[in-house]
C-alpha cells in the first residue's frame, strides 16, 4: 500500500512538473519545475531500489544541471521575455505526434502489466563499481573523455571575445 502511495504521488509529481517544464511561460518557472521533476524521479529511482542511481540523480541532476540551467536562464533572461508565449505555433501538430506515439509506447507498457518484481531490491553500489572497473572500463573512461571534450567546448564558447 505504501508502495502505491509513494509511486503514485511521485509519478504525479514527476508528470505534473514535466508538463510544467514544457508549458510554463516563464522560463525560470520551467527550470524550477525541472528541478522538482528530477527530484521526483530520484524518488522513483529510490522506490525501484536503485540507491546509487538515486544518489547520482540528486547530485548530478538536481543539484548540478538544474541549478546550472537556472543560472543560465537568469543570465540570459530579459524582462520582456516573460510576456512572450513560450510555445510555438506547431503545438497542435506536436500534440498529435505525441498522441499517435503514445499509442505505441503505452502498448509496450501494457504488455508488462502483470510483471512483478521477483526479488527484493538489494544495494548495487558494489556491483556497479566492479562493473565500471572491470568489463565496462572503457565506457567509463570514455565518459571522462566526453566530459573533457565538453569542458573544452564550454571553456572555448564561454570565454568572451574581449579577453583575447
Amino acid at each position: 500500500m505504501l508502495e502505491h502511495i509513494v509511486f503514485y504521488s511521485l509519478s504525479t509529481l514527476v508528470l505534473v512538473c514535466a508538463i510544467g517544464v514544457v508549458t510554463m511561460r516563464n522560463t525560470v518557472h520551467s527550470a524550477l519545475c525541472l528541478g522538482l521533476c528530477l527530484a521526483g524521479l530520484a524518488g522513483l529511482f529510490a522506490s525501484l531500489g536503485a540507491d546509487f542511481l538515486f544518489a547520482a540523480q540528486v547530485m548530478v541532476y538536481v543539484s548540478g544541471i538544474a541549478v546550472l540551467i537556472i543560472f543560465t536562464v537568469m543570465l540570459l533572461g530579459r524582462a520582456s521575455d516573460l510576456h512572450l508565449r513560450q510555445v510555438n505555433d506547431q503545438w497542435m501538430a506536436a500534440l498529435l505526434i505525441c498522441a499517435v506515439s503514445s499509442e505505441g509506447l503505452l502498448k509496450i507498457a501494457r504488455f508488462f502489466s502483470g510483471t512483478l518484481a521477483t526479488t527484493a531490491a538489494k544495494p548495487a553500489t558494489r556491483d556497479i563499481g566492479r562493473l565500471f572497473l572491470g568489463e565496462w572500463m572503457i565506457p567509463f573512461e570514455l565518459v571522462s573523455l566526453v566530459l573533457m571534450a565538453a569542458l573544452l567546448g564550454a571553456i572555448f564558447f564561454s570565454r568572451s571575445e574581449a579577453s583575447r
Binding site: A18, V22, T27, A50, F52, Y61, T72, A94, G114, L116
Partner: protein, 101 residues
Amino acid sequence: MTLAHYLTVAALLFLIGLFGVLTRRNVIGILMSIELMFNAANVNLAAFDRFLHPEGVAGTTLALLIITVAAAEVVVGLALLMAIHRNLGTAYVEDFNLLKG
C-alpha cells in the same frame, strides 16, 4: 507495482519531453525537454533492471553513464547558447535563420 506502471511513467515523460522539444521556443526550454527524454530512458532502465533482469546491474550502470553524458551535453549546449546569445542576442530558435536553402 508492476513494470507497466513504471514504463507508463517513462513513456509519458518521454512524450512530454518530445512535446517540449517540438514546441518550446526558447533553446533552454528545448534543452530541458531533452533532459526529460533522457530521464525517461533512465526510468526505463532502472525499472527493467528491477523487474526483468535483477541478476545484474547493467541497466542502472548505463543510466549512470547517461546521466553523466546528459550533463556534458547540457554543459556544451549552454555554452553554445552563451556564444550565440552574444552574437545574435537571442535565445529563441526561430531567430536562428541565417542558414537556409
